[in-house]
């Protein structure tokens, strides 16, 4: 099946009925009345992995493969809790990990528990370059 393309964009206009927030509430049902009734939460205003995959297909079709790949990495991070995201970011900063193994372990955690192979590969790639460039070093 051919994926989405630039003709399908903006998805909120062409596929409004299929776009849903994290809990499955349709975009069109996220109304001010629903907010006032207390049935809309912040979760309903969160993007889904599916929406990011859709945007990745649009980006690919527009000739922007690196942007598409970033959306695919993002799709993997949707389910990753905020604290784990922030600590992974922290671990990738220079000198936070003192040994390559720390990044390798983090990659494995994200690959196995959060089904995030692209993110895991990205971290492993960083680990190898950090090792070669001496980034696993004392900074503070």
């Amino acid at each position: 099946m051919k994926g989405l393309g630039v003709a399908d964009y903006p998805l909120a206009e062409t596929r409004a009925d299929q776009i849903r927030g994290k809990r499955g509430v349709a975009l069109n049902d996220i109304t001010l009345a629903a907010v006032m009734a207390g049935v809309v939460t912040m979760e309903d205003l969160q993007i889904t992995p599916g929406a990011l995959q859709d945007q990745a297909e649009v980006a690919d079709d527009a000739g922007r493969p690196t942007l598409g790949l970033n959306f695919r990495r993002a799709a993997e991070l949707v389910a990753v809790p905020q604290d784990l995201i922030m600590s992974t970011y922290e671990l990738l900063r220079p000198g936070r990990a003192k040994k390559m193994q720390e990044l390798v372990d983090r990659a494995a955690l994200l690959r196995e528990q959060y089904h995030a192979p692209l993110i895991a590969d990205f971290i492993l790639e960083a680990a190898q370059v950090y090792e070669k460039r001496g980034v696993f070093t004392y900074r503070f």
């Binding site: 964009y9 903006p10 776009i19 006032m36 929406a51 942007l67 959306f71 970011y89 220079p94």
Partner: protein, 758 residues
């Protein structure tokens, strides 16, 4: 000239010393120490080597020796399918393709996926400033230009932030960026700007520049919709000194997208130099590395064009051209470009105006990143290239060049209404959420104030408590939307909800996305399709009219209304009854004063503001003071000063006449002289005094008496040609010429002065 009397200085240099320009200090080109925009022996030669489908060397560095930046670019930016084809094209050819309207943008973007940093820098360095601006206009990703505002103040006062955000929205900014004076105030600032930006219309994206982790948390609470402070650097050492790596920033890019938050990176010339790790390489080459990194990470866009290093870059030869060149690389790499113009890079207003012009004409995704929509002293990012002080200058530049700079003039009453509404809205939110109870005095002071010096509102310390409460109580945008709606701000509640809803579909995560008229507009559904005149972005007539609608413009009705205010007063002072056709005078003791068609009928004062009755009175008195008679004649066949004067002279028994237009321009003519070859001319009506007119009349009488008087000089320093007069003078003159009747006979006027002594 002897040595003792030889002056030690030409005074002109002392005068130049006093100009604002001399406050700018300029740096000598010095590649070894990092001070070179385009040329350095330490820049690598462009090159690529592939081995078994892998990058074996790039820009003269073997893969084994790649630093982190090279490694990231080779792995993520360079597309192996096009790299050999693209790198084989001579730089001169690529440079010509950039400015060739027949080479489509898409083809150049395809090739850019295979170009190394050194190659990109080499190509754009071959373009002059005009070619760079043109190529930028052709290559930028989205067709419709936009603009971004800074909204901050020196007290982090949320009431003022809301009011100023609402005003920025009304001026047409597509994004609002705030930051804090006190880091703890970030939550309060974000809420205030989110609420203010929801007043009037929806669709303005907002961000609060703060520490990376905090910025992401504020975004997740729904108080911001984009981020742009994810900085990257062009040398490995400055990158790690900035406490990041290409991979940590790349991870952050994915993290923002995973939360449905739009993001762009930031980079700019001079940052490596400021951080002390420039590798003796040029600003442009280092920036090309930054930009290839950003495309490799998969961010949709960049804030580049010097940014914090813009002022330093502008001290170097070609520095401003370099800022344009790096922006061109950004759009060639198909990145959204928030093109700098966000730091005051000079003390000279001429350099400031010149800096913005190419961007204004070429257009940009976000011309400024951002424009200081608040007074310079309230800008917590430091003063921008343009600030609230210069807002109207910018609006006029748009009008001058019929260039869409993204902004729309705002009527004074509308601005005040919006400020009231925004201050009431944020106050209601504070009250509903138990965050504060702003007094009427606080609110009124903010609504009126031009800047925070004039407000009696929250102090930074009080704001810190509000900010801590928002964060500590886990208040989200849902709470704020509810608070707005409960207190009667349903429109604002809906507007804010609409912005947060953008993140569900993620449409605004695509390249160069903004919201216009309630729709996401990006490089996908509004791609730049420039292919020569008539293509690409063109203003609609409606948009052109919006831009033209600056305040306080003149037209004939305005001029006539202003003149009509003086009509009754003049009618009480003077009358111009017609006593039949004017005849040839016989006596040598008369001087004829020829007045213009609208003189005293539709126009009642000179451009200097003298009542025409007063002017005629002193002219008549001046002539009479030499024992001669003044005869007044109205000409309706011409309004030209020279012909008024010559026609008057021809009717005059003495052969000397004065011609005068209602605006005050006057001439003394002799019947014996050719047209325009007058005896004396007062061409500087705006600075001509009644004493000058009196002297002028005495001289006319002197010529009639056969004397050779000293001509009356109106001392001028060019004031009369000031641009304040041009439109009015032309409109006045059109009123005069509108009354002309071909061949109309001169009319004898029995002038009557109705008050005071004659």
């Amino acid at each position: 000239m002897s040595e003792t009397s030889r002056p030690n200085r030409w005074q002109r240099f002392a005068e130049w010393d006093e100009r604002p320009l001399r406050l700018d200090r300029f740096a000598r080109e010095d590649p070894a120490n990092g001070f070179s925009a385009f040329r350095s022996p330490h820049d690598p030669k462009p090159g690529i080597a592939l081995s078994a489908g892998k990058i074996a060397a790039m820009d003269g560095v073997l893969a084994h020796d790649f630093d982190m930046i090279d490694a990231f670019i080779a792995a993520h930016h360079l597309d192996r399918r096009v790299v050999e084809e693209a790198m084989a094209i001579p730089s001169e050819t690529l440079a010509r393709m950039l400015v060739d309207m027949n080479v489509p943008r898409s083809e150049l973007v395809r090739l850019a996926h295979g170009l190394t940093p050194a190659k990109l820098a080499d190509v754009v360095s071959k373009l002059n400033a005009l070619e760079i601006a043109f190529a930028y206009s052709k290559m930028r990703a989205r067709k419709t230009p936009g603009n971004q505002a800074h909204v901050t103040n020196a007290k982090d006062d949320p009431l003022q932030l809301a009011a100023d955000a609402a005003v920025a929205v009304a001026y047409g900014f597509d994004e609002v960026e705030t930051t804090t004076r006190v880091a703890r105030n970030a939550w309060s600032n974000a809420v205030a700007c989110a609420v203010g930006a929801a007043v009037g219309r929806w669709g303005v994206l907002f961000q609060c520049s703060s520490e990376e982790a905090e910025e992401l948390r504020i975004g997740m609470a729904g108080f911001t919709s984009y981020a742009e402070t994810v900085s990257v650097y062009g040398t490995e050492k400055s990158f790690t000194d900035g406490d990041d790596t290409p991979w940590s920033k790349g991870f952050l890019a994915a993290a923002y997208a995973s939360r449905g938050i739009k993001m762009r990176c930031t980079s700019g010339a001079g940052s490596e130099l400021l951080m002390g790790f420039h590798q003796s390489q040029t600003l442009l080459y280092l920036e090309a590395r930054c930009l290839c990194l950003q495309r490799g990470m998969g961010v949709q866009g960049t804030q580049n064009g010097g940014i914090d290093g813009a002022a330093l870059t502008a001290t170097m030869p070609g520095g401003v051209r370099e800022l344009m060149a790096e922006n061109l690389i950004a759009v060639w790499l198909d990145l959204e470009c928030a093109s700098g113009n966000d730091a005051r890079s000079s003390e000279s207003e001429i350099r400031i105006g010149a800096k913005i012009l190419p961007y204004l004409i070429a257009g940009s995704d976000l011309i400024c990143s951002g424009f200081g929509s608040i007074l310079a002293y309230d800008n917590s990012f430091n003063p921008s290239l343009f600030n609230a002080e210069e807002m109207e200058d910018y609006l006029v530049l748009q009008r001058d060049f019929e260039a869409d700079g993204g902004l729309t003039p705002l009527a004074e009453h509308r601005a005040l209404d919006l400020r009231v509404r925004a201050v009431d809205a944020i106050s209601a939110v504070f009250e509903e959420l138990g965050l504060g109870h702003p007094s009427q005095d606080m609110k009124a002071s903010v609504v009126m104030a031009s800047g925070s010096d004039d407000t009696r509102s929250y102090s930074p310390g009080e704001v810190a408590a509000i900010s801590a409460a928002i964060q500590g109580r886990d208040i989200t945008v849902i709470d704020v939307i509810r608070a707005l709606a409960r207190r009667g701000f349903a429109c604002e509640a809906q507007n804010l909800l609409n912005v947060v809803k953008l993140r569900v579909s993620g449409d605004y995560l695509q390249t160069s996305a903004m919201v216009r008229g309630g729709r996401v507009l990006s490089a996908i559904n509004d791609p730049n399709d420039y292919q020569g005149p008539g293509s690409g972005y063109r203003m609609t007539e409606a948009r052109r009219q919006d831009i033209n609608d600056i305040r306080d413009v003149l037209d004939q009705d305005v001029v006539l209304r202003a003149e009509a205010e003086h009509q009754a007063g003049e009618a009480a002072r003077i009358a111009y009854p017609v006593a039949g056709p004017a005849l040839q005078g016989a006596g040598a003791d008369e001087v004829v004063i020829g007045i213009s068609p609208a003189f005293g009928l539709k126009l009642f004062q000179t451009t200097a503001g003298h009542k025409l009755s007063e002017v005629l009175r002193v002219l008549v008195q001046g002539i009479e003071s030499r024992g001669l008679r003044a005869r007044v004649v109205r000409f309706r066949h011409t309004a030209d000063t020279s012909f008024l004067g010559l026609s008057a002279a021809r009717l005059s028994g003495s052969g000397i006449g004065i011609g005068i237009q209602a605006k005050g321009t006057a001439v003394i003519h002799s019947a014996a002289r050719l047209p325009h070859n007058n005896l004396e001319l007062f061409s500087n009506a705006p600075i001509t005094s009644l004493e000058h007119y009196a002297g002028f009349a005495r001289n006319a009488a002197a010529y009639a008496l056969g004397e050779a008087p000293e001509p009356i000089m109106v001392p001028t320093r060019g004031e009369g040609m000031g641009s304040r007069y041009h439109a009015r003078v032309a409109l006045i003159y059109a009123i005069e010429t509108g009354l002309i009747e071909e061949g109309a006979a001169p009319e004898e006027i029995r002038l009557k002065f109705l008050e005071g002594k004659r």
